[in-house]
């Protein structure tokens, strides 16, 4: 099987990795460069647990052909905190007890960040729409919605990425 070299930046750090033909980005992020924050929930694009930002846009890494991120800028929940300082979204998720098993949390945070980066003052409907591709089985969504709205009020969207 042929391997292709791919370079991209992940959370501001440049990465170079060899990928298999047909390999998806989720697999490469997790096993290739060791960022375990995006999760495998379906491999079908139906759960959102693998959501990462590519050039600032939310993408499903399980449906992204790894070699297509050549030269692009990726961010994941693994890089959301700045040093020891949590991103306002992370802080809000904690305060609202918006994580139970925590497995969807990473994807939810990326979906939320993608929203707030574009729309710093979202309505509840905007938030609902933003997480509509992400499945949570534990919380019933309400604490997540409240956390995102709270984070927006605390200026999460005005903070630079």
């Amino acid at each position: 099987m042929s391997k292709k070299p791919v370079q991209f930046t992940l959370n501001g750090e440049s990465k170079a990795v060899f990928v298999d033909d047909g390999q998806n980005l989720l697999d490469v992020l997790r096993r290739g460069v060791g960022d375990l924050s995006p999760k495998y929930g379906c491999g079908q694009g139906t759960c959102g647990a693998c959501t990462v930002l590519i050039d600032g846009e939310a993408h499903l890494s399980c449906l992204t052909l790894a070699e297509t991120v050549e030269g692009r800028s990726l961010s994941s929940t693994g890089g959301l905190a700045q040093g020891a300082e949590l991103h306002p979204l992370q802080d809000a998720f904690m305060r609202h007890f918006a994580a139970q098993c925590g497995f969807c949390t990473s994807g939810m945070l990326m979906a939320a960040k993608s929203l707030l980066d574009r729309n710093p003052n979202p309505s509840r409907d905007d938030v609902v729409e933003a997480i509509s591709g992400n499945i949570c089985r534990c919380t019933g969504y309400e604490p997540i919605i409240e956390a995102i709205l709270d984070a927006a009020q605390n200026g999460a969207g005005r903070r630079s990425a």
């Binding site: 099987m1 042929s2 292709k4 298999d20 033909d21 047909g22 998806n24 491999g43 079908q44 694009g45 959102g48 959501t51 846009e57 939310a58 993408h59 499903l60 399980c62 449906l63 992204t64 052909l65 070699e67 297509t68 979906a111 993608s114 929203l115 409907d125 609902v128 729409e129 933003a130 997480i131 509509s132 591709g133 992400n134």
Partner: protein
């Protein structure tokens, strides 16, 4: 069978590779192809990519709009020219899917997907293939799984006057879920009566489809409860709606007139 990926600079080269290899698939945004790869689909082993920038362009030409086949739902939502399609693009997937899913992919998406295609069916869609040939959308849908496979370069649709174009996606899950039934309608009126209506469904058959019986019944009708009566009676005439995990054929048949009425008479 391990996967190989081939990237082409030009759409035409990719189209040639596609037509010459039954085990090749062209990848637009990846939402269909990568899922198949992940699930071990044995029907293909080659993924074709094309970097042609024309595939991702939206152009206005007179009263028509040309949309490249790799234009994403998110691009449609960002386009002022395509504002009439925003409710349609927003009905597809969640935001991440919309950043990936393409117009071309939607044309080839199997049931229950294809909401955008239903809209295109009533917008007088002309399909331009990679080689420059054109096709009608119904023809393309009919032949979409036949060999040799074709690569769509762009679609051309007409820009509707305000109020003519109507769209409704019925889903069990809010705000986003797969379609139980999607209805797109183009309802021009002349002297208070419908003239030249076009109506299409998605998720009501093997592919998105025009619904001629409804269109005929609407001809000359007034857009009110009694005026659309015949059209509602014809809502599933000649159609055998599918049974799937979302709903049975019986249910789709029962509610088709209800949702058609709400589409025609609603906003």
């Amino acid at each position: 069978m391990s996967i190989s990926v081939k990237t082409f600079a030009s759409t035409a080269e990719a189209a040639t590779a596609l037509s010459g290899d039954r085990a090749a698939r062209f990848m637009g945004g990846g939402t269909l192809i990568m899922r198949a790869v992940n699930e071990g689909d044995q029907s293909f082993n080659t993924i074709l990519l094309a970097n042609d920038p024309a595939l991702t362009e939206i152009q206005a030409q007179g009263d028509r709009l040309i949309i490249g086949s790799r234009v994403t739902m998110a691009q449609i939502l960002a386009s002022r020219d395509l504002e009439f399609l925003h409710p349609v693009a927003r009905a597809v997937g969640g935001p991440a899917i919309r950043n990936m899913a393409t117009v071309g992919g939607n044309l080839f998406a199997e049931h229950p997907y294809g909401d955008l295609t239903a809209a295109l069916l009533v917008l007088d869609c002309q399909v331009t293939l990679a080689g420059g040939q054109t096709s009608t959308l119904p023809d393309l849908l009919r032949d979409r799984t036949r060999e040799p496979r074709v690569l769509v370069a762009s679609v051309s649709i007409v820009r509707p006057q305000s109020g003519i174009f109507k769209f409704r996606k019925v889903s069990r899950v809010k705000p986003k879920g797969v379609s139980l039934m999607t209805i797109a309608a183009w309802i021009p009126q002349s002297g208070g009566r419908v003239s030249g209506a076009r109506v299409a469904y998605s998720s009501m058959g093997p592919t998105p489809m025009r619904v001629q019986a409804v269109e005929q019944a609407l001809e000359g009708a007034t857009l009110d409860e009694t005026g659309v009566g015949n059209a509602l009676s014809a809502a599933t005439s000649g159609i055998e709606p599918p049974t799937d995990a979302i709903a049975s054929s019986w249910y789709r048949r029962e509610v088709a007139p209800v949702h058609l009425k709400r589409t025609l008479l609603g906003g």
